[in-house]
Subunit: 344 residues, 4 copies
Amino acid sequence: MIRFKCDYSEGAHPKVLETLLQTNTEQTVGYGMDQYCIKAAGIIKEKIQRQDAEVHFLVGGTQTNLTVTSAALRPHQGVIAAYSGHISTHETGAIEATGHKVIELPSSDGKLTAWQVEETVKAHYSDENHEHTVQPKMVYISNPTEIGTIYSKKELTKLSSVCKENGLILYLDGARLGYGLCAEDNDLDLPTIAQLCDAFYIGGTKIGALFGEALVVCNAELKKDLRYIIKQKGGMLAKGRLLGLQFISLMENDLYFQMASHANKMAMLIKEAFIKKGYSFLISSTTNQQFPILPNDVLDRMKVNFEYSYWQKVDENKSAVRFCTSWATSTEAVKKLIEEIEKW
Amino acid sequence: MIRFKCDYSEGAHPKVLETLLQTNTEQTVGYGMDQYCIKAAGIIKEKIQRQDAEVHFLVGGTQTNLTVTSAALRPHQGVIAAYSGHISTHETGAIEATGHKVIELPSSDGKLTAWQVEETVKAHYSDENHEHTVQPKMVYISNPTEIGTIYSKKELTKLSSVCKENGLILYLDGARLGYGLCAEDNDLDLPTIAQLCDAFYIGGTKIGALFGEALVVCNAELKKDLRYIIKQKGGMLAKGRLLGLQFISLMENDLYFQMASHANKMAMLIKEAFIKKGYSFLISSTTNQQFPILPNDVLDRMKVNFEYSYWQKVDENKSAVRFCTSWATSTEAVKKLIEEIEKW
Amino acid sequence: MIRFKCDYSEGAHPKVLETLLQTNTEQTVGYGMDQYCIKAAGIIKEKIQRQDAEVHFLVGGTQTNLTVTSAALRPHQGVIAAYSGHISTHETGAIEATGHKVIELPSSDGKLTAWQVEETVKAHYSDENHEHTVQPKMVYISNPTEIGTIYSKKELTKLSSVCKENGLILYLDGARLGYGLCAEDNDLDLPTIAQLCDAFYIGGTKIGALFGEALVVCNAELKKDLRYIIKQKGGMLAKGRLLGLQFISLMENDLYFQMASHANKMAMLIKEAFIKKGYSFLISSTTNQQFPILPNDVLDRMKVNFEYSYWQKVDENKSAVRFCTSWATSTEAVKKLIEEIEKW
Amino acid sequence: MIRFKCDYSEGAHPKVLETLLQTNTEQTVGYGMDQYCIKAAGIIKEKIQRQDAEVHFLVGGTQTNLTVTSAALRPHQGVIAAYSGHISTHETGAIEATGHKVIELPSSDGKLTAWQVEETVKAHYSDENHEHTVQPKMVYISNPTEIGTIYSKKELTKLSSVCKENGLILYLDGARLGYGLCAEDNDLDLPTIAQLCDAFYIGGTKIGALFGEALVVCNAELKKDLRYIIKQKGGMLAKGRLLGLQFISLMENDLYFQMASHANKMAMLIKEAFIKKGYSFLISSTTNQQFPILPNDVLDRMKVNFEYSYWQKVDENKSAVRFCTSWATSTEAVKKLIEEIEKW
C-alpha cells in the first residue's frame, strides 16, 4: 500500500531527528526560553526581514489558530474566513470555543477576495443595529488554501490594504506555507508576507518536522502578553527547545524549501499523468495537493494499492479525491502511481 | 410620526400594568420562586397540556436563547439554524460567546426543512474525521420566523421526527409565537408544539408585556440544573414575580392571543393595500410583519410621516422594508397608512 | 409574617410605577437609545460631575458585573475580589463563565485594602514564570460590601492610587450604593467615586426600582464597543426606556437617597435594639443590612412572625443572621420587631 | 553549572529516541488512530488492569487538565482543588478559560482530604440559594502533589468514596505519577488508582519522554466524544504515533518506573545530606522534589555552580528552594552537590 493520503504520514526529515539526538542530553531552561528557540527565532526574523517581529513556537495548527484568535479579539468580534477555511470546518469549533464567531464567506477556490472582505465590513456598519451583530475584526486566510490554491502578491496586497483601511487584522495560516512559496506560479516570499500580514505561521508539521509551527507576529499590538495566552491554551511545550531545534534544522540550508519543492515536483508529475488521461480537477492546484475528479470504478481499482483522501461527490459516477505528496514521497512511489493511472 | 418599525415601541398592555400596580407592595421571595411565578407556570402547563414540563421566566430573547443553548450542549456540539435565524445574525455572537458554533444553513423563507437537518447530520457522521468538525446536536427554529413565515404542523412534525431519530434537541424561539399561532393559515397550537419540541419559549416582550419570555422545557434531560445556568448568565431577575405577574395577565382570558390576532388583522389590512397597488413582497407573510418591496422614491415620501424598518436592497430602484404591527397598533394609524399607500 | 429578609421583596416605589404608567403608550426606539435613557444618563452625569462618562442601563447586577468584566479583560487576565465578594460567591461562576479567574483574597470586613492589591500584583510579577499565572488586571469591590460595611474616602483613594500605579481597573459594584452613601459615617459621594473608579454601577433593584442598574463608565478605554457586549450577554433590554424612566424617577428630587436614608434609619433602630439587649454583631454595619449574632432558641421563636436571612453558624448555640431594611420597611414593622427583641 | 531546577531540562531517555528513529519513515494514519497508539493503550490497560478504560495521548499537562475538565463539567459546575494545585496556580487560568471555577481549598501539604471535599459539598447544598453558587462536580488532585507529597492508599480510598457518594468526578493529575509510585513509603499502584479515580494521567514529559501524557479514562460517562474535545482544544497531535511510540518505550520493561526510582534515589541522597547538616524542609517529601529551607547566604554561594528553583520566602534570612532530580540526574552531579552542602 502506497500512501498519498496526507503530508504527515511519516516522522521527520532525518536532519531534524539528527539535531534532536545530538542535543538530547543538554540541559536547557523550559517553555521556549532556551538558546535554540532564540536562535531559531533569529533565523526566521532574518528570513522575513523583520527584526521587530516576534516568533513563538507551537506544537500544532489548530492550537496556533485558536491562540492567535483568542489573543487578538475582544468578545464581540469575529473572524472572517472562507467557508472552506480550516477554522471554519476542521477544528471542531475551536474558535467558537474561545467565544468568537467565524464569519464564513463563500469561495469556490478556497481564497477570500479583498472585495468580499470590504463588503462584509460595509454591511456590518451600514446596519442601523450593528451592535446586534458580530463585529468583523480579523481576516483568516490560508496559503496555500485547503484545496491547494495560492494567493498572488497582487491578491494578498489588496487584501492587506482593505484590512488596514478597515482596522482588520490579517492572519495567514501557513500550515503548508512552504509548498505555496515553492509553487511554480508563486510570486510571494517571506518578507512580503511579513509586510502584508499582521501575523502568520510557518508550518512545520506538514513539511518535515515531527511537529511544530512557527508563529510570526508582526503587528505590535498582537505581541502583548502572547505567552500568557499560549500557556493558558495548553500550547506552551515544557521542553520548548524541541521546537526551536526543529526549526533550526528546517531553516538551515533552506531544507524547508528543498522539501517543499520536492513535494511540489512529485505532485506536478501526478497532475500531468491525470491530465494526459483526460481527467479534470476540482480546482487547479500547483502545490502538493491535487484534486482529480475520477470515475468511481477507477477509484475502486486504485484503492487496492494506493491510499488517497476522499474529498467530495461530484455526480453519481464521479468523485473528487485528494492526492498529497510530501518531502517523504519517493519518485518510485510516484512512478508506480503514474503507471496505475496510465493503465486505465 | 406613526411608527410601524417594530413590535416593542410601546410599554405593556394596560392589564399587565394593572396587575403590577395591584401587587406592588406585597412581599414575595425573590428569583422566580414566588406564588405568581408558580401560578403563571401552572397556567402555561395547562395550556400546553404537559404537567411534566418546566417553565422558567426570563427577561429577554437573546438571554433565553443563549441560556438554553449553553445548558443543552457539550463543548464540541453546535446548533443548526437558518442563516437568517436570530441567533445567526442578530445576537452579536451570543451563542458563540458561550463556546458553541451556529451551523448556518441557507433558507429562502426563514425556515429549516427536515431534509436539510438530516443531510447536515449525515454529512457530519459520514466524514471519516468527523471528530474534527462540530457535532450537530440542537436545531434552532423560530416561529414565526424572522421574516414572518410560519411552520405548518406537517413541517414541524417532520422536523421533530428527524431530530428524535438523530438525537437532536429541537428548540423553538417563540419571540412572536402568538402572532404565528393566530395567523389565518396556522394549524399549530401550544399542545402540539409542546409535544414536538424539546424546549420553546412564549415571547412576551413583543406581544404586550413590558418584557419577559416564558421558557418551556419539555425534555427531561434539559431540565436538570437549569436555574443555575439562568443565574450564571445573568438571567435570574431578583424580583422574579414581575415576570410571573405579567404572564398571568397575558394568559388570563387569552389576552395574549387577542392581542396577537389584532396585530395580525392590522397587518393583513396593510398587506392588502400594498397588493391592491400592485406591489410585491420579499416573502408572503400572514403574521404581524410585512415585507413589501417598494420603489425608493415612494419610500422617501413615506418616511415623512411613517416609520418602518429598512430590510434590504432589491435592485437599484427598489428596496424591501418591514412594516410591523402590534397590540398597540390602532385602526386609525393603519387607516392613515393605507391612505398614504393609495395616494402613490 | 413581617419580612426583613432582603431589600427586594416588594415592587417599586410608587413614583417609579407612576412614570411607567404615564409613558406607557408612547412610542420610542428600542435598546436604550430613547429620550428617557438619554435624559437619565444626563442626570447621572450631572450628579457625578463627569460629562465625559458613559452611562448604560442594565437589568440586574450579575449581568452588569459579568458584562463589564468580559469587556474589560483579555483572556489571560483576572479580577481581584474579596473572598466574600458577590462575584466570588453568589453569581454561580458568572465571571469564570466568561473565561476569567476571580482572584479571591481574604477579608474579615468584606473590603479589600490597597496593600492587599499591591501585594497580589507584586507577587504575580516577581514570579519568574509569571506567564504561568493569571495576570491581575481589575479590582472588584462592592460598596457597601455584602456584609454592610462601607469604604471611607481615604480607603478608596488609596485603592484607586494603587490601581492606577499598577495599571489595574477599579470597578465598584454599587448594588446598594445609596445605602452606603447615606450611612451616618460615610464620607464618599458620587463625584468622588466617579473620580476614583474606572467604572461603577448605581443599583436600582435594591433601592426602589422594579429592576435596573445604571452602569457608569469613566475610563475611556472601557467605553469602546460596550453596547456590543451588553447585547451579546443578553443584557440589552428591548424596551430600554423602562430603565431610563425608572432612573429618572429615582434621581429626581433625590428620591433614591431619600429611600436609602429611610432604610438606614430603620436599620439603625433595629441595631440599637439588639445592642441594648447585649447582642453582638458579626460586623459593625451602618447601612441597611444588620448581622446580629443570636442564640438559636431566640431565632426559633423569632421565626414565627419575622423573616430574616440565615447567614452563618457562629458556635453550637449561636448564629449570625441578617436583617435587611428597604424603602418599603415601615416604622410599624420595625416597632413590632423591636418589641419582639425586647421580649427575650 | 549543574541543574536541579526541574525534571524536564533534558530531552528524552535514549530508548525513547531510538524508537522514534526506527519507525521514522513508516507511514501511519494520523491523529492517534495508528497501531502504535493502539498498542501503547493496550499495554497501559493491562498495567492498570482495566480493559474497559480508554486511553488518549496528549502532548502536555495543562492541555490534558483543561481538556478533561471541559469535557466533564456542565457550565455551572466547578472543580475543587487545593490552593496549591497546578490548575489553581500555574496554568494561567486555563480551567477558567473553559468557563469553570476552580474552587480552591487550603492545604498545608498539597493534598485534599475527604473531609474537606465533603464539607464543601455540604456547604453548597445547605445554602438556601445554592443555585447562586458554583456546583462542585469534580475533584482535582495531583499525585505526587506540586510539593512532592503523596497520597496513601487509605487517603485516596476515602477521597474516592466521598466523591462517589456525592456524585463527584475524581481526577488525578499524574504529571509525576512515576515518582509517586516509586516512593519508598508509597502503597498505591496503577490498578488501585484506576479503580479509585474516574480519570487520571500518567505523565511522560517529566519522566523520560520528549513530551506526552497518557490520559486514562475509567468512568464510562467521561469517555463519550472525548476525541472531539481533544481536537477542539488543540490537543490532537497530527503525527499522533509519536506519543504512542514514546509510551511503548516507557512502559516496556518498566523503563518508566526504573527512571522514576533512580530519580527518587538521587533525591533521597540530597535529602539526607541536607538533614545531616541540620537543615529543615518546607515539607517532608519522598519523591524527586526536595524543598530544603536554607539561609540566604548559603543559597547565594550555591547559585554559582548549581541551579535550583526559588520557592518561597520563609523569613528574613531563610528561603525554601526546590531541588529536582530526574532520570537524567547523574550520581556525579549529586555527589558534587552533596560535597557543596557538606562544605558550608
